[in-house]
């Protein structure tokens, strides 16, 4: 039974990537509209967009690590 539950648990844990996908969309969406509004700042804005992306990606990968933990450790 634990063999099957492991798979279902890992499957459920992966659902958390949905939020991170939306979060990254929001970051780049606001980045594109900000560049259109103020093109002179593209350089620094791109730096912050990449920082925002990396921090949101980290949350997605925390969830993925949790899924791997459930899958391979138990």
């Amino acid at each position: 039974m634990a063999e099957g539950a492991k798979l279902i648990g890992a499957g459920c844990a992966t659902i958390a990537l949905a939020g991170a996908g939306a979060g990254i969309g929001i970051v780049f969406g606001s980045f594109i509209s900000s560049v259109a509004r103020n093109p002179s700042l593209t350089k620094t804005l791109f730096g912050y967009a990449i920082l925002g992306f990396a921090l949101t990606e980290a949350i997605a990968l925390f969830a993925l690590m949790m899924a791997f933990l459930i899958l391979f450790v138990f």
Binding site: A54, L55, E57, A58, L61, F62, L64, M65, F72
Partner: protein, 250 residues
Amino acid sequence: MFFYSPLEQFTIISLIPMHIGNFYFSFTNSSLFMCLSTGLFMCLCVLVTARGGSLVPTPWQSLIEMIYEFVVSLVSEQVGEKGKQYFPMLFTLFTFLLCSNLIGMIPYSFTTTSHFVVTFGLSVSVFIAVTIIGFQIHGLHFFSFLLPPGAPLILSPFLVVIELVSYVFRAISLGVRLFANMMAGHTLVKILSGFAWSMLSLSGVLKLAASIPFAVVFALMFLEVGVACLQAYVFTILTCIYLNDAIHLH
């Protein structure tokens, strides 16, 4: 369908087994690639600036200058004037992560930062260093860092607990972020290339179907190189932010 599990690329193989007492000190492929990445970058720097470097920079010299300028502007922008004394540490941190991530991209090589023990060691040592600096500069006043400015005092017990938890979680999240990015990225590439390989064994026309996962793997390699450089940058910029918090409080 898979001969090896996708995580097989992360196994540690001891090249020169050494045991001191019952301690395991053998020279593993992870330490080999760590020496390789630091050694390569050091040789590059020494060779490039052999005779003080030429006035008209050679391509390699301009590469080193670019990396140097990048980290200098990063540190001075994030931590300001007081950050200058921590620049050497931040520069070695950035170049070590950059080189070990990029070397890990070569097929059949080993990414040292894809193991949690390596990145966790790095992030906890950074966390301890930053906390010591904070207490050294501000003494007990450093605890005021746990209460963000302008927060209403009624909320303070609740806010202090949350700030303390998120302060301590910085050590873990800094390490897990780098580790998870590296491991998940390489696992994704391995699984998709496993698909492309096993699709090749299909009969006749279906072999062409193997080109789809192969194209995805091709695009993913660009993404992986981007992620490799990006994660080294993010690790360094977060260290600068935490250093800035320790030096200038809020």
